[in-house]
Symmetry: C2
Subunit: 243 residues, 2 copies
């Protein structure tokens, strides 16, 4: 499985993805699920993937290959809006479906893939989309400024409690790390290292990125303090006197 989150804030975009992939429990490996398309000072586009790894890798591969093809009129590095970028991702998802779905079905495997794509193209504000396996997609709004894909449920409550469209970017990073910690504790199909990317509005740069390992001193401290803090709050709550 996988856990990825993308958020659109007033300050810009935050992306985080785990790196565990597994086929059953026998085949567990580290694979990055974050892919960056950047044209210096013009556009930064970030893709996070969940679902069948062969499908999502083939989609990302096609998106990359298209940028290099001579005569390819429309690709991720030249279309003029993030909406068009999401449409390109959707198109590649549909091509993958046409090519793979019947073969997967013959092995009783569902065509299962979801892709978050966000970023900023000069002339537009930053935008964030969620592209489904059918190639259709939705966009965030101020009321719901984030998307999760993969193993989303364990880490959702803390995001729901804390994150707003106007939250400070580094508070959101802290919240995401708590969200990943909750998920990783309860589900072995999600694991560190966590890939993190902060895109600051109008920066047109992807330089603020970091791979956070289990041994990262900040992540260790955060996990310990959060766990101790939760237990302290929990212990401080009065028990009911019902029985």
């Amino acid at each position: 499985m996988t856990y990825c989150v993308g958020l659109l804030l007033n300050e810009g975009l935050v992306f985080a993805s785990d790196t565990r992939t597994n086929a059953g429990v026998d085949q567990v490996a580290i694979v990055p699920k974050m892919h960056i398309f950047e044209v210096k000072n013009k556009r930064v586009i970030v893709i996070l993937t969940a679902g069948n790894l062969a499908i999502t890798q083939s989609v990302v591969n096609a998106l990359k290959a298209n940028t290099l093809k001579k005569g390819k009129t429309k690709h991720i590095n030249n279309v003029s809006s993030m909406f068009d970028v999401a449409a390109l991702v959707g198109e590649e998802m549909r091509l993958a479906y046409e090519r793979d779905a019947k073969h997967l079905k013959s092995q009783n495997i569902e065509f299962n893939a979801t892709i978050l794509v966000g970023g900023q193209i000069k002339g537009e504000k930053p935008r964030l989309f969620n592209v489904y396996a059918a190639g259709n997609f939705i966009e965030t709004c101020p009321e719901t400024p984030y998307f999760q894909i993969g193993e989303t449920k364990y880490g959702k409550p803390i995001i729901d409690r804390v994150v707003k469209h106007d939250s400070k970017m580094m508070d959101v990073v802290k919240c995401l790390l708590v969200s990943f910690d909750s998920t990783i504790r309860s589900n072995i199909s999600v694991a560190a290292p966590i890939d993190l990317l902060l895109y600051k509005i109008n920066s047109f740069s992807s330089k603020n990125k970091k791979r956070i390992t289990d041994n990262d001193p900040y992540f260790i401290q955060l996990r310990q303090e959060w766990s101790a803090g939760l237990k302290k709050v929990f212990t401080g709550l009065k028990n009911p006197n019902w029985f």
Copy 2:
């Protein structure tokens, strides 16, 4: 959907279930998912159900009807161990499958049901089982003293952090209410009132039960204090200085 939890502690058993049922979003109703079989001073058996309501209601109905049938040699009120009780629940699940599964399949509906069954029969310690749709079942152990069924993921992290086999019963009740609160906030298919039952070891009585509504003063206070406490701990955590 549904959210139910059963726990086996040193002090006894704790059961909690929500009461929301829905067929799509158009048909939402309150239905209890907790069923009690009691033979005074001899046995208390509690059943929590998740999944297709028609299936689980038919299983519970058959278990009840069997206790009244003349000449029925084995039923939930007379078998001599909780293991045998779980086997009876499994048998009824299999009979429901044989009767219903093909008809459900013709409407593209999966045969989907899970049942927790726990309690104490005189001569035995309290025991707790999880019966699957296939009629097979597993039992708790001190290392993993609880089962969840239904929408389990939102509320799992707090249970994983707090509950042990030797936790105090009222601490566990408090933890379950926090777990239900997290689930209810993030998923509209789970909702109060919550049915709660505490079975104290060797009591052979089901008297400690309560229906907790959204307006319950303790539940309101717990939710407010937990939310405020979480936010305080979260705010107190240092932000990373990575970028």
